[in-house]
């Protein structure tokens, strides 16, 4: 019977044995209950109840992926089972979606973590940018701000998104790295400009004050261009001012002010390194130095061995020690200079909180705006001041033209229709390449000339503010120094002290030999026990 007419199937076996439940079913058995379906799913001799196998597969699929994989093939020959099931496209899609979602869930966890950081970061960024825009607006005035940036950030060139947030940072860092009391930064806000879109504009139209004289009859290159001012004039002015201030101080105090670098603790400490050193130094090291300097000032002279500064040496923290040492080592030999330094330290001690510095730095644009406004008000009464500040608003108001309306027609008139259109575009989208290409053709420098140079009077105002602040500082310093110099300890007589405890000169007239208060005598005797002469007398 080896005919191959028919390939045997599971139903042709004499005894069927399920490899899972191990139930046997002879072919001639009398079935009890409903018949159970048999299956031969692989290429070997194993056969199995379909229900058992499905149970096993289903159970294994609930476990690990590896287990599920194992259950889907024959444990003996390794043939993969072919399963048929009602698996409409929808189910496939749903399962796929489920898998995708599962994976997406993990990604989401990552993204949300990154998102939290991002939101915080962008919050900081937005704050910084908003501050930068506010500062520019304060400094250059609304009119110029509207022309350069406008209130709508979508008009801003991309450089604005770099420069504006950097502005507060540079203000703060400049405040932390130079002498806080002598030279608040007039410069940084101007120096931040050149890379900014504002400055690009200026760069290209730098020669406006030379070129367009006929168009601006009153101005003739005054005030100077912000770039020229920021790059060349301001540093020179600052240097001259600094020297002048030192000379004035020398005249007043008869001694030099300490160097900006040294008297600025934050500059020094920032360079020292990590934050805690700064704080530590603020708390510990500095008062030591201060007290010592004051003590030295009161003595009016310095002992040579005092230079070792034992307090600073005893300090276990190595980092602040050199700082604490510094004032001791280069302490001026001149008592006058020592007094001055002591006074400077006294003032600085109560003027060096971080918040004060940062807050002060961030207020600079506002202060300059206020000062500029003040100058503007005053200029109404002074023609010379008006000329100096290059104020044009009066004239414009006379003409009855709002600034923008006045500026734009003159632009298009001088460059022609095409150029004018391009410029109009460029004006709207500052920082675009287009702007630069047409920049040279742009007669719109007139527009600049026509704009009220708010920045100029603000700069002057800030300068005046700085001068006023430094004068105030010098006055404060002078008063403090005078206070230190005039210090005396009030001396008292020996009333209340037992007269017998005192080793008096023989010529002292003893009027009342009797001690008046024993308790007072007790204290006095304890206090004077250490004095040799007193001891001698007691013996």
């Amino acid at each position: 019977m080896m005919s191959t007419a028919r390939v045997p199937t599971v139903n042709d076996l004499r005894v069927k044995l399920c490899y899972i439940c191990r139930e046997e079913e002879p072919y001639d058995a009398i079935r009890e209950g409903p018949p159970r379906a048999w299956t031969h799913p692989c290429n070997c001799t194993l056969i199995v109840h379909e229900a058992c196998l499905l149970d096993w597969i289903q159970s294994a699929q609930g476990g690990s992926a590896e287990r599920a994989q194992n259950a889907l093939k024959c444990p003996q020959c390794g043939t993969s089972y072919e399963m048929e099931s009602r698996k409409p496209l929808v189910l496939d899609v749903l399962s796929t979606i489920n898998k995708v979602l599962q994976r997406a869930g993990g990604v989401f966890t990552l993204i949300s973590a990154a998102g939290v950081i991002g939101v915080m970061g962008s919050g900081v960024y937005i704050t910084l940018t908003a501050y930068g825009a506010w500062a520019v607006r304060q400094f250059v005035g609304k009119e110029m701000f509207d022309m350069l940036l406008t209130d709508d950030p979508s008009n801003w060139p991309w450089t604005a998104f770099l420069n504006l947030p950097l502005l507060p940072l540079s203000l703060i860092s400049s405040r932390l790295s130079t002498s806080p009391t002598l030279f608040p930064m007039l410069l940084p806000i101007v120096l931040v400009w050149p890379p900014s879109p504002v400055a690009h504009q200026w760069m290209h139209h730098e020669p406006w004050h030379k070129r367009d004289r006929p168009h601006s009859p009153r101005l003739r290159g005054w005030p100077p261009s912000p770039v020229i001012f920021g790059m060349f004039i301001a540093p020179v002015v600052k240097m001259i001012y600094r020297k002048l201030l030192h000379r004035v101080a020398l005249h007043i105090f008869g001694a030099n002010l300490s160097d900006a670098g040294r008297s600025s603790r934050f500059g020094l400490y920032l360079r020292e390194g990590p934050l805690f050193i700064r704080f530590r130094a603020n708390v510990d090291a500095r008062p030591l130095a201060d007290d010592e300097a004051i003590a030295a000032a009161m003595n009016g002279h310095l002992d040579a061995n005092d230079n070792d500064d034992p307090d600073a040496d005893a300090n276990p923290d190595p980092a602040p020690a050199p700082v604490a040492n510094a004032p001791a080592n280069d302490r001026p030999q001149d008592p006058n200079a020592a007094n001055l330094m002591a006074a400077e330290r006294l003032i600085e001690k109560s003027a060096s909180s971080l918040g004060r510095r940062i807050g002060g730095a961030l207020l600079i644009p506002y202060i300059s705006n206020m000062m500029g406004t003040l100058l503007f008000r005053i200029s109404k009464h002074s023609h010379i001041l008006r000329e100096f500040l290059g104020i044009k608003q009066h004239r414009r108001l006379l003409n009855g033209l709002p600034p923008s309306v006045y500026a734009y027609p003159s632009v298009s008139a001088s460059t022609g229709a095409v150029g004018g259109a391009a410029v109009g575009d460029g004006l709207k989208k500052l920082g675009q390449l287009l702007k630069y290409t047409v920049g040279n053709l742009w007669g719109g420098t007139k527009a600049w000339a026509e704009l009220d140079p708010v920045w100029w009077r603000n700069t002057i105002g800030l300068g005046l503010f700085v001068v006023a602040k430094d004068c105030l500082y010098l006055a404060h310093l002078w008063l403090t120094k005078r206070e230190i110099e005039s210090r005396k300890i009030k001396t008292k007589d020996f009333s209340g002290v037992d007269i017998k405890e005192l080793d008096l000169v023989p010529s002292f007239p003893i009027l009342s030999p009797r001690p008046r208060r024993t308790s007072g005598a007790e204290i006095a005797s304890r206090a004077f026990r250490q004095v040799d002469t007193s001891d001698g007398r007691r013996d």
Binding site: Y19, I20, C21, R22, E23, L46, C52, D55, W56, S59, G62, G63, S64, E66, R67, N70, A71, P75, Q76
Partner: protein, 174 residues
């Protein structure tokens, strides 16, 4: 149908009683269909020559869909063999007891596999993380998810104790 487990175990027990166990393996007790004990001994030359260990099988109602919980007995003066895949509390890290369990395997097949696992051992030593594992190990070795290092030669590199919730889920699905 818990009776599937009972019927299959009855059948396996009957086979053992009629045909006998493989060499080196002896049934100690099988009073019910939940807990069976065997002694196991490695025949021939091996690290464990002359040593007899006791294997314990615990079956749940889902056997053979669900694998039996197999471990060496370490009570009543019995010891677990010192082997890189056998912890001192008797738990065994073998893939056929976990991921690679198949209903085609039987109790005696498991015994024979573990016997050959011992026989092939080159050096008697405990798993590296024995102390740490034994300190935290659950009573039932099936609640430990061993990570197998290779197919035929299960090695334990790391494992994780399933949480109560996790094991409950597994028990339901298995």
């Amino acid at each position: 149908m818990a009776s599937i487990a009972a019927r299959r175990l009855a059948k396996e027990l009957k086979e053992i009683q009629t045909e006998g166990c493989p060499v080196g393996i002896n049934l100690v007790k099988a009073d019910n269909f939940e807990l069976w004990w065997f002694t196991i001994e490695v025949m021939g030359e091996s690290q464990y020559k002359g040593e007899v260990y006791t294997l314990q099988f615990r079956f749940d109602g889902q056997y053979p869909i669900s694998s039996p919980a197999v471990q060496f007995v370490v009570t009543e003066g019995r010891q677990a063999p010192i082997h890189p895949h056998v912890y001192s509390n008797g738990h065994i890290c073998a893939s056929i007891l976990g991921n690679e369990w198949s209903p085609v395997l039987s109790v005696t097949a498991v015994c024979v596999t573990l016997q050959s696992m011992l026989a092939s051992c080159k050096k008697k030593e405990r798993p590296i993380d024995n102390d740490r594992y034994v300190r935290n190990a659950p009573d039932n070795p099936k609640k430990t998810q061993f990570h197998y290092d290779g197919k035929c030669c299960p090695a334990l590199i790391a494992y994780s104790i399933m949480t109560d919730m996790g094991s409950a889920i597994t028990d339901d699905t298995v």
